[in-house]
Symmetry: C2
Subunit: 189 residues, 2 copies
Amino acid sequence: MATQVKATPRERLLEAAATLTYHDGVGIGVEALCKAAGVSKRSMYQLFESKDELLAVSLEERASAFAARLLPAADDDRPPRERILHVFEQVELQAGAPEFRGCRYLAVQIELKDESHPASQVARRVKGNLTAFFRSEAEHGGASDPDLLARQLSLVFDGANARAGIRADSLAGLIAPTVGTLLEGAGVR
Amino acid sequence: MATQVKATPRERLLEAAATLTYHDGVGIGVEALCKAAGVSKRSMYQLFESKDELLAVSLEERASAFAARLLPAADDDRPPRERILHVFEQVELQAGAPEFRGCRYLAVQIELKDESHPASQVARRVKGNLTAFFRSEAEHGGASDPDLLARQLSLVFDGANARAGIRADSLAGLIAPTVGTLLEGAGVR
């Protein structure tokens, strides 16, 4: 039998913030967050300065899991083309889950509409790391214009997440040919 | 001197809903909407059943302006390739405006996270019409797989709007080569 390590109030608040925001949006109230976490508002404000800070920290703490679920493993020595396609295969797989609502780091920025919000800043940095991954692979893969290809792949990543998140597209049979055509166009084979 | 036709309470509410939702998100309160429109809450509820209905109608009423700002004119007889590129040139132009926050019909669906919401349903239909435009042009342009090309162009449209809306990308020098490569890949020249 597995033994469960009891989560601390801080951990429960971060989990509630991540889960409820992803499901219901950034407008979720402090009451609802505290209720879901089983933590009093008083305790919440002892742990976090504000709901904004709680949201920013919850996004920060998910950043390594986000990268791990998308990027190839450290010992993955496939060529850049395959490593880039790996990311998009993961998006397509993730989009099949019933609870999928697209990339949380994109959604939070669209919802907050405020670049100076601490959560927007975290989201921007996390997505900047993904673009940097694409840029690096594009360069190693001999892309004619690595900056352009990295921007194109980031565009497809966000477009795919947005459309699958709102159920406008299942992504099936869409992502691989789209990314393949862009890689081809950039001379990455 | 231009004479101004005084807007009715209904028109002012629709304008306030469209403007404030675009700027601040769907979480904007009824109080704020009524205040911006200079209309009492009582009057609002005589005109609209709910805030949800007000939002849905405001999106519906913007639909023809949305299409007019993006699609080529009725008498535009350029070939399909140029007509498709025209849409993306408009997106790039629109993205340069300081108040630009991306496509309102995408944002509202991401924010509401509820496909059954009346505003989500309007947004879905409006964007479906754009995909249908791409599909029709793709077919006239001899695309090898018009359905795939229409999905790709919709993906790029939403990705571009999302990234420009959150200021992650200016779109300059990005959209034309991306769409060009996809058109080329589909055999639309």
